[in-house]
């Protein structure tokens, strides 16, 4: 929209000039929040770095079978031949990173590690997120006694610091499997997501567009699903990216405490670092350094992205 009414009287070339000038200025100005956020993300180097790391990680994870030279659980005679409890053979033909403590191809295990780590991280995050969001929505939307109960519940969970809760859960699970670890790490995040969602729900219940919708007589669940949830989700997404990093770190910590995934055939970085890496540190430090580095990188990637998304969405940084 431009004041063409006024400039209509102008000579054509002048009018055209004016119109294009206006066009230029307005295009620089008002843009939608999301597009604007996206713009700022791309301009933000940290975001780009984070995204790049994650992308690489995903690619490796997805195409592990194609990238990896060998089967990660197979034991190779040429490696076991001079493998002893206090000597682990290094790089040899066909095994760029040499052997692991059981004569398996370490390089392949590192590569498949991406896959397993992704699996653990994603599942832990998703489960935590779904349960959390569900609780949060219910609490936030229904309010009243339900809200009270849910909040007490999260209180109980939050009363135990994250890793402690995970440890306890694993201990209480008696049988230790990969799933106990995933669940434990997931449950830890439930209250966080729940509170997050409840918070933004409550905030929105009073917000104009919801009030408007209510005034128009839109059904409650429609309001919740169509109007409130979408607006809360951005926050949830940010939290999720950050949670992922925490999840894989916690998984590693559990392995270190001997409470992690007991199946050492499974190539998962946390497991590799927490068990073999530490035990054989002096025999072959790479067994610790590589998984550790991988974990740090990925955790870093997700943190970077999460933080910069949050920053980008923060209205304070617009203009």
């Amino acid at each position: 929209m431009s004041g063409s009414g006024g400039i209509a009287t102008l000579a054509d070339h002048k009018r055209r000039r004016v119109e294009e000038l206006i066009a230029r200025t307005s295009e620089a100005g008002g843009v939608s929040l999301i597009r604007d956020a996206g713009r700022r993300l791309l301009r933000n180097p940290t975001a780009v770095v984070g995204a790049a790391i994650i992308l690489l990680f995903l690619v490796i994870a997805i195409f592990a079978p194609l990238v990896a030279p060998h089967d990660p659980v197979q034991r190779f005679p040429e490696l076991t031949r001079d493998l002893t409890v206090d000597h682990i053979p290094g790089a040899t033909a066909g095994h760029p990173l040499g052997s692991d403590p059981l004569g398996r191809d370490f390089a392949s295990r590192m590569i498949y590690g991406a896959r397993q780590t992704l699996f653990v991280g994603v599942l832990a995050t998703l489960i935590g997120l779904l349960l959390g969001v569900l609780l949060g929505v219910i609490a936030g939307a229904v309010g009243g006694r339900v809200d009270m109960v849910v909040m007490r519940l999260t209180d109980v969970m939050l009363a135990l610091p994250s890793l402690l809760l995970a440890i306890t859960l694993v201990a209480l699970a008696s049988r230790s499997t990969q799933w106990t670890v995933i669940i434990a790490v997931a449950v830890v995040n439930v209250p966080i997501f729940a509170r997050l969602l409840r918070g933004s729900m409550l905030a929105q219940r009073e917000s104009d567009h919801v009030l408007a919708a209510r005034a128009l007589g839109v059904k409650r669940h429609d309001i919740v699903l169509r109007h409130m949830l979408p607006n809360s989700l951005t926050a949830v997404i940010v939290q999720a990216t950050l949670t992922f990093a925490v999840a894989i770190l916690d998984a590693a910590a559990l392995s270190f405490l001997g409470l992690g995934d007991p199946d050492i055939n499974r190539a998962e970085w946390g497991l590799m670092l927490g068990v073999d890496g530490v035990r054989y540190f002096e025999v072959r430090p790479e067994l610790a350094y590589f998984p550790a580095l991988a974990i740090i990188l990925v955790a870093l990637g997700f943190t970077l992205l999460g933080e910069s998304i949050r920053e980008a969405l923060d209205p304070k940084n617009r203009r």
Binding site: R75, L83, V85, L102, A171, P262, R279, V283
Partner: protein
Amino acid sequence: MNTMRASEMQAGRRRAVIAAGVVAALSIGMVGCAKSDRDSGNEGKAAGGTFIFAGAGDPKNFDPIFNDDGESFRPIRQLYDTLVTHKPGTAELTGGLAESWSNDPTGKVWTFKLRQGVKFHDGTALDATAVCANFDRWYNMKGEAAQSQMIYYTDVFGGFAGSPDAVYDNCMAQDAGTAVVTMKKYKGAFPGAFALTAFSIASPAAMKQYGSDTVTQNGDSFSYSAFANEHPTGTGAFTFGGWNKATGEITLNKNPDYWGDKAKVDKMIIKVIKDENTRKQELRAGTVQAIDFPAPADRKALANEGYKVLDRPAFNILYLGINQKNNPKLKDLRVRQAIAYALNRAQLVQTKGPGGSAVADQFLPNTVLGYAPDVQKYEYSVDKAKQLLSEAGATGLTLNFYYPTEVSRPYMPNPQEIFTVLANDLQAAGIKVNGVPRPWNGGFKDDVQQFGKQDLHILGWTGDYNDPGNFVGTFFGRPKVEFGDQSMADMFTAIGKADATVDQAAKKAAFEQVNRDLATKWLPAVPIWHAPPAVVTTKNVEGLVPSPLTAEQFNTVSLTK
């Protein structure tokens, strides 16, 4: 809700400032101390005559009869003596508090000639009455709480006063120097079992004074007497100096009037460090002079750095247990043999065995009576395995393989790795393996020994005394859920007979036959390896003699400058 006055605000700010100051000071202080203290730290090193030994776990208490684990026995062995003991570095019996002992033809009556002039730490004399007092104490122990904690006693002596299967009858003090112990029936365990640390002789006076027999149950556990915790009183080479639980230090002082070789160090501290890696690092840092159970992976490195790596002669066994109950196919000997052939034990020993470990072809080390050199060996052969399986019509067999987590035992330093390797071998021979991990105390022992849920499992044993009964007897002497109840009655009877044989030569022959049959006829389990646990000391530690029973006596240890 009163609002804050401006003056308070000031105060608040002042507080903040002070806090900040303290913070700064402290953090600086720390670094400062870090520097200033490095030297004084190193002084702690070879402090005169103090020998610091890093153990792997907390003891329970110091009353011998209520204990059954090595970490409790280590200090107890220094504080007490047994009637019969082992020659240093071996499992051979020799005189302890008893200079000599004899056994009547029925094998039921044991006569001990006691050493003269031996005194307990409280000054009272060790004589026949004192010895009998100990035997009677054990036999007449009251209360389920106390009885349930006397693991070795129930195992060896069958039961308590009034129980039908109790082995002990009475103890007579013939004279001050002669104690005569009479059993209701012969038991092969003796005399070896008399050397068990659990059956150390304690001062009756002290036990009376400190109410040694009061074991009280509280919640899910038990608390023990002042005798067991603060005033353990025996005849040992060291006297009790105290147990600092906050730092995990047990202090033992030289006993100047010890009847045997007096301790060469004035003081010994047993420092509890649970993590094997940390034990090694403390050794390197020079804060301890010896560490128990080094990580197998570290032995070579430590040896190269000039530390003394002392191997204990292997006196343990790791086996692959086979439970015949759940899967009928396993009742077929050929299937069990196939499993034996399928396992590449040589490779396992080479790749995962702690230094000095060796493939086991029977369930007891060659130092033990009844070891048969000519048992069937089951050399690794996938083909034989496959062939046997197909003969037995057991191709495509799937087995539940239970293995423990959250545990490390001398015979099983790293269960997960061992399982992974074995499973791998079995898979190669066409046996599908379904691995089931269980926490050691969180279900493994239950599932395997109580409910027998498994088809296969790995477990092991460290011998207590030199007797085949203590090995094969414990495993296969009676029906056990672990290997599938009631199966193979002939095995039980054969072992029972061998165990009951009084004449040593005959007993030897009998057990040799048992071992041969275990390998060829019964094969209830597959022996994997004997893995000697080690002790590592600094160069300046002399005279530490590693014992196959991990029963080291530290009075012989000296520190050279």
